[in-house]
Amino acid sequence: MTINHYIFLSVALFCIGIIGVLTRRNMIVIFMCVELMLNAVNLLLVAFSKMHFLSASAFDAASKAGTDAQLFVFFVMVVAAAEVSVGLAIIVMMYRNTHSVDVNFLNRLKH
């Protein structure tokens, strides 16, 4: 496997997420498509870390290159978990106010 397989997989996954955000009007599905885009980026980071590790371990067998990228993915997951909890609370609040999760009801600043 070369790096371009993973690049094209991540690009396709990211574009599927973008199409979902642009075409769906359900707020929860839009939120899930944002998670999909985050996962595409995470997958690409892990693939690049292994690529970096392979090129670094050719010179130094005990190299730890690429560890930082995997920790970065870990922190992305941490931030995503916090983001989801606040975002779902906002969706619940919006459902209480408008009795719908359709984003078309949010096209004015006050009601």
Binding site: H5, C15, L36, N39, M51, L54, D68, F74
Partner: protein, 166 residues
């Protein structure tokens, strides 16, 4: 075609197919279930890259915690009615066209670059194991780790404050 290639293409098909089903399902509950399958397939990719710690964290955090939160919100608030079809068909058409254009531009820009032939170390290499990651996390990244606990605390307080009845 070795077993690694076979598994890669199988997981890729599963990932992209279930991701497409996420955005084309009418019912939000089905979207969530397809998204769980997508996350499991991405975890399979992590195992294939020997990033075992991230594979486990991905299953526990994403497929375990976040998706259960989504399911709770959808089911407790009885939101699982099929969404009404989009009024404006042209808007949907424009969304698909713009997303497809981005895909086209990115693929066309990236397909002939020099670095694309670099190999990836599959299945071996110990940088993804918890032994190595834990040492780096608690030695070099101890400050971001502690700050993320403050982030979780503030997110928890924020969720409670937003979610309680005004």
């Amino acid at each position: 075609m070795g077993i690694t290639q076979l598994l890669f293409w199988l997981l890729t098909t599963l990932t992209l197919g279930s991701a497409l089903m996420v955005i084309f399902s009418k019912n939000p509950v089905y979207s969530i279930l397809w998204l769980i399958i997508t996350f499991f397939a991405i975890s399979g990719h992590y195992v294939l890259l020997n990033a075992q710690f991230l594979a486990i964290v991905n299953i526990i955090v994403y497929a375990g915690a976040i998706m259960v939160l989504f399911l709770f919100v959808v089911m407790l608030m009885n939101l699982n009615m099929p969404s009404s079809p989009l009024k404006n068909k042209w808007l949907m058409f424009a969304g698909v066209i713009s997303g497809g254009s981005l895909l086209l531009v990115l693929v066309a820009a990236l397909k002939d670059t020099e670095a694309m032939r670099n190999g990836i170390l599959m299945q071996t290499g110990d940088i993804g194991l918890i032994h190595n990651l834990g040492k780096v996390l608690f030695k070099d990244y101890i400050l971001p780790f502690e700050i993320s606990s403050v982030l979780f605390l503030s997110a928890m307080i924020g969720a409670v404050v937003i979610g309680k009845k005004a």
